[in-house]
Symmetry: C2
Subunit: 496 residues, 2 copies
């Protein structure tokens, strides 16, 4: 693996006033600043677009259809947003409830919607894209844009070796949160960040992709490719965003119990510390900021944990990246779906029953009740750093690396675990994420229990005596995170 | 998946007196009875074979080279057994120490050995077969036999889509134990069972394959195909032979501790019960025999555990079979080897440190100290039954199903865990097995901890209320195991 240089930046006359060239840890990226919610530039790129179709009404569909409809209206545009649903879809009533209607043609069949739209956003479930993606695309008129909000289908095409029609544009706007947040934060005048990609297409496709991102209300739009997006996404959710962090807390809870901490105390010291002060401190003060907060004794514990964990988790994380980029993880998800492999319970163990009781008893001023546990923080941050290093080594842009390894974890996902436990976090995500998390959580747990905690306990020796922590202190990630921390939506994602 | 009927039996004039048509649970298989150690029939099939090459000197190489040399001598044959090693191989001295020599040509280079032999047994590591298998095969004269002791390479060729030369025979004799046991039990006049396969070749190739099996001293040789062999082998070691049983004991140890059993007690009730009385009772009295031994209260516990475990483990085991038969598991092993994914410690957790102390304190009359734990037995046997059902549904012969799911577990592998813990069992196996066990143990552990033990504890409901235990009582496996239990080597594999 070699370090891939940051790619060229891009330009768009229509959005010139919103595009900024940003220095991130010595690399250059183009970021679109949409935070002032001026939708006027949409006129320039959607002026000749009579109709845009949103296909599907699960997570992203309702949010994107409504946001785009509202933004086009704000911009004084005639572009019609139509929702395409299968005949007999149970979602019809939901779409009608927010104003899409058969009468005015803004609610129609999938076939009608795609075949009459200049741009069609395929926001159906991954499994539906696998089985119907090519057939849906075949409905589009020549020269149309096919938009995706996730690179899964591009990854699946890599596995099957099947390409897409050459006479269409394939583009992506991938929001950094679930559909309901995309809508809610739009209504709150904040919006949610996205990454944008043009997989196939020229300047006009890029222009409309940026317009789509702006229309969603994204305060910051970062550049990526769908190939990088699906890899970092499928990888990240198996690693520290979902699977890895689940394995981590299972392992550490068992370890605290083994050291005679009572169940409630173990839950507080592990889960509550992680999703409370550790996540919040990382969010506001960064990774090194968290370390700086510790007292001398805690710093020592952090360093011991970090040095025990990093080389093991780096090795595991590299393996995971290969399993993802080879396409094997996606093949497994497709196979699991086909053969109805059960979605096992993820909060079946004792610790989550304890957790429920603990959460009930925690008052709203709970922050005062738990501190940063330096061992939990040391292993957690080592896992994040392993993820950062693997993504960078595989040529992902800094914005993607930091978003998919750190920001999404502490700002978007961990709050779900904090509110209602691990299942609430994992099972609010996509099937691909839920399956991946179920597979990788136990593997992370085993690596941590078998190879990291015994080193911290002094009953197993370290793999080597390199000072990984010194690399951490001097890492480019701190600068990158500093830059990107300022590019967050005004309003945090709230968990109800 | 449909139930595949048992295949046709086979015939061989040369070994006619040793071949028996055996009824196993209503199906018919041909089994070669070699237990009387009459090597005379070898003359008929190896009379025109001037030289047989054994390539490699790791686990199977030393055993098979010596056994065949000794058997050919007993039969009064001139067939020369030559060992082929790479130039500069560190194994040269070991081969010389048991009588193979450069001087008489019985020790030579790989190239020389294969290119001058009518039959070449490629007994190198899986990774070497992946990188060099085709090149080695290309050295063989047209019409030669290429022999394998494991179908891994056939599975890998499935993945890459690369076939083998059409002008050679591809055959297999796969011993049901590691190389040292193949040699030791030969010297003890018992021998070890094998399965035989002709992947490519006609009657003469089958004759020589049976001769190879007889020459190894196999008391019973069962029929298979290399395609079935690698699937059942790679599957079985990930399931209850290694990975599954490791996950099981980790989960159950944690569960006993959670129920306030002290560490020593938990180790005894879980591991020692499993590898002691549970394995021994299954070995001598079968699966239903074990159940019959329990008192009324224990029977109830067994049934509760069985019914909680079977549907979950059946689902997981089916998934595992798909992951194996698709080729993904082999691709992952090849990738892990290529990228040096670490072989993590498998006995790093607390329970194995406790186990070491417990084993030290156990006297030789340890049987008296532990009973059959009915919950451990119920889940363990449910896992075996899931494995049996999945293999049968995928068309594996009964002999293979019972050997790879039950007999190999209780007779060949669990004794290693009993003697020195989990790592001694797992890490005495192939790289493919060691990697697979490391991956699947945590996954089994998670399914058992998250979805089975909470049902047994009454804090989670059962998936359904079907009486899986009734299916168990009336299962064909009991008849099959009865038949196959009598076809065991005279001497058990001993663990030093």
């Amino acid at each position: 693996m070699t370090m891939v240089e940051a790619p060229n930046t891009f330009e768009s006359e229509a959005f010139n006033d919103l595009l900024r060239t940003v220095q991130i840890a010595g690399t250059t990226e183009t970021v679109m600043y949409g935070g002032d919610r001026n939708f006027e530039p949409l006129g320039e790129v959607f002026g000749d677009v009579a109709q845009l179709a949103v296909i599907g009404w699960s997570s992203q569909g309702p949010a994107q259809a409504q946001n785009l409809r509202d933004s086009f209206r704000s911009a004084g545009l005639d572009t019609k947003v139509v929702v395409g649903l299968r005949n007999g879809s149970a979602s019809r009533a939901k779409a009608e409830a927010v104003g899409f209607s058969l009468a005015d043609g803004s609610l129609t069949t999938v076939e009608d919607a795609i075949s009459h739209s200049r741009m069609s956003l395929l926001l159906v479930a991954d499994a539906a894209l696998v089985s119907e993606g090519h057939a849906l695309m075949d409905l589009a008129p020549s020269g149309a844009d096919i938009g995706l909000s996730h690179g899964f289908w591009v990854g699946h095409n890599q596995v099957t070796g099947r390409g897409v029609r050459e006479d269409i544009n394939l583009t992506g706007v991938c929001p950094k949160g679930m559909g309901p947040s995309v809508r809610k934060l739009y209504e709150q005048l904040s919006g949610i960040n996205v990454s944008v990609a043009v997989e196939q297409g020229g300047q006009d496709a890029l222009d409309r992709t940026l317009g789509w991102a702006l229309g969603l209300g994204a305060p910051y739009s970062f550049q990526t490719t769908l190939r990088n997006e699906w890899r970092s996404d499928v990888f990240g959710e198996r690693a520290m965003l979902l699977g890895g962090v689940h394995g981590l807390v299972e392992a550490l809870y068992g370890w605290k119990r083994q050291h005679n901490v009572d169940p409630e105390g173990a839950y507080l010291q592990v889960v509550e510390s992680l999703v409370g002060p550790i996540s919040q401190t990382i969010s506001h003060e960064g990774l090194r900021g968290l370390f700086d907060r510790l007292d001398e004794g805690e710093k020592e514990q952090f360093i011991v944990a970090y040095n025990a964990a990093y080389p093991q988790l780096k090795n595991l994380t590299e393996k995971l990246y290969h399993d993802v980029s080879s396409g094997r993880e996606l093949e497994e998800v497709v196979s699991d779906n086909e053969f109805n492999v059960r979605m096992t319970q993820v909060d079946g163990t004792d610790m989550w029953r304890v957790g429920e009781l603990v959460r009930k008893s925690l008052s709203s001023s709970s922050e005062a009740r738990v501190n940063i546990d330096p061992t939990v923080a040391g292993i957690y941050i080592a896992g994040m750093m392993a993820q950062v290093d693997v993504l960078r080594a595989n040529g992902h842009y800094w914005s993607e690396v930091v978003n998919e390894s750190i920001i999404e974890a502490v700002d978007s996902l961990n709050p779900y675990m904090r509110a209602r436990g691990i299942a609430y976090m994992v099972d609010n995500c996509s099937i691909t994420a839920r399956r991946g998390s179920r597979k990788w959580a136990p593997i992370y747990q085993a690596w941590i229990s078998q190879g990291i905690l015994p080193v911290i306990d002094g009953v197993q020796s370290r793999l080597d005596h390199r000072d990984y922590f010194a690399d951490f202190l001097n890492h480019d990630v701190h600068g990158a995170l500093d830059t990107l921390k300022d590019m967050r939506p005004k309003i945090d994602i709230a968990v109800s």
